[in-house]
Symmetry: C2
Subunit: 277 residues, 2 copies
């Protein structure tokens, strides 16, 4: 659910780099800010690294919750980084941010350069998330923390649930896997962080559940975040021969019904905090 990718050689990307995608990421971050970000706050003066900041959708919330941090934000896409910079300039003009264009696997910072590392919807796009975590641990000081937020598309279930709706979600997972990523990464956070040598690994599910009693959440999350994300891979799914226009569009229509007054939608994010020993 982000714009970070470790595969610069790919010109297409499972979540796209379009304007509507940037807007979707902004909508998503705004809807989910309480759920995902509320309990992350770093002391003023902390040296914080946001790895894979994308268009800055999470960056502005990080800065709002932690005024006075010394933030370094990196991304592989110069375009995304420019959007992040503009977004932060507009929403947090006083923030102290160093922008770095580059690959999180090869950061030009000394060992232990940061007190805290933060990444949100990034590992899901890495062909080798363990290698990514190892590279980030290098630049984290002993005793410093890493905070990781990831989704897991296998956590999506809904009512009414139709085979066509389920297939469209599966196409997204399949395309992301074909691109070297893992749309089911959330469930792997604990073993990945543990294997990377972090300690005190605490992973907590963060559940989004929308029903007819919560129309704003059904609109903001089910439709404008989740269904929009699935819909965005239409051309790619057709090009890959995974589906037909009719079947894909039926799946999207069925998914949209889950945001109606009789529908329900469930999705789980995972948030992990761990320490570099």
């Amino acid at each position: 659910m982000t714009t970070e990718t470790a595969r610069p050689e790919h010109t297409t990307y499972v979540h796209g780099y379009s304007d509507s995608e940037a807007r979707r990421l902004g909508d998503q971050a705004d809807t989910l800010v309480g759920l995902l970000h509320a309990d992350t706050a770093y002391p003023a003066g902390s040296r914080v690294l946001e790895a894979g900041c994308g268009v800055g959708a999470q960056t502005v919330h990080l800065l709002a919750a932690s005024p006075g941090v010394l933030l370094t934000a990196t991304d592989l896409s110069a375009d995304s980084l420019a959007q992040a910079r503009a977004r932060v300039a507009a929403q947090a003009p006083a923030a102290d941010v160093v922008w770095h264009h580059g690959d999180l696997h090869r950061l030009p910072f000394p060992d232990g350069a940061f007190d805290h590392v933060f990444l949100c919807f990034v590992l899901e796009h890495l062909p080798d998330p363990a290698a990514g975590l190892a590279a980030l641990r290098r630049v984290l000081r002993p005793g410093g923390t890493i905070t990781v937020i990831e989704g897991d598309h296998g956590s999506a279930f809904f009512h009414p649930e139709t085979p066509a709706a389920r297939r469209t979600v599966d196409h997204l997972v399949r395309l992301q896997a074909d691109g070297g990523g893992d749309g089911l990464l959330g469930r792997r956070l604990h073993p990945l962080l543990t294997a990377a040598g972090f300690t005190g690994v605490a992973v907590r599910p963060r559940t989004v559940y929308a029903d007819g009693g919560r129309p704003a959440l059904a609109e903001g999350f089910t439709l404008r975040t989740f269904v929009a994300m699935v819909e965005a891979v239409r051309a790619e799914a057709l090009a890959a021969g995974l589906t037909t226009p009719e079947d894909f569009d039926r799946g999207i229509a069925d998914l949209r019904r889950t945001a109606g007054p009789d529908g329900t939608f469930h999705y789980t994010f995972f948030k992990a905090v761990a320490v570099n020993p």
Copy 2:
């Protein structure tokens, strides 16, 4: 995940009536008591109906949280009811309980006889849960509340996830559907309660997430609650021709691995509270 069934003509039952099943239900209720029951407390003197109390696994927790209620507990199975009675006598000897053996669709109580209705893992076994809710609403006074707790086996996802493990879970859902139930009922609570005429319907997910950092939960929930429940349908799945002994056993072995130090397991219960207008 209960022992209530609306189909007395069936001598077998998807979750079984054995001693080990009664023990499993007790383990499950004890592990989940905080998650599912902690926020349910009725004032002393309230007339409370527990519909489908089964072996009393939830009943003892209900009574512990609400001392002084006037509880009526019903179940379709005389055997289960006897076990519930013994359990309550042992764990809550001072409780004021009327035990009623009968079908929740045809309760011999006057309209509005109860201030509160409580049911846990019951609707999932009814061929027509809407009819069950209508029958329960009749005996609930205007302004009284109904509290419903249900699981949803479609919420189960885990790591590592193998096709064999997924298939064994699917067999459970399929067998329950063949028996007229719905192992995916949790996601339908909001529309069901709304359609039954309840108001102020508030449904909240209650997530169980176990990983290598929570071995007691992996043992108490993943293994002794969830895997034990799936394992219990082995004979039925084989008799129905859904699987082979080898494939079923491989699925169970794979599910067990998700409770190991590198595994993770996720499951969502839903708890609903609504008012009879």
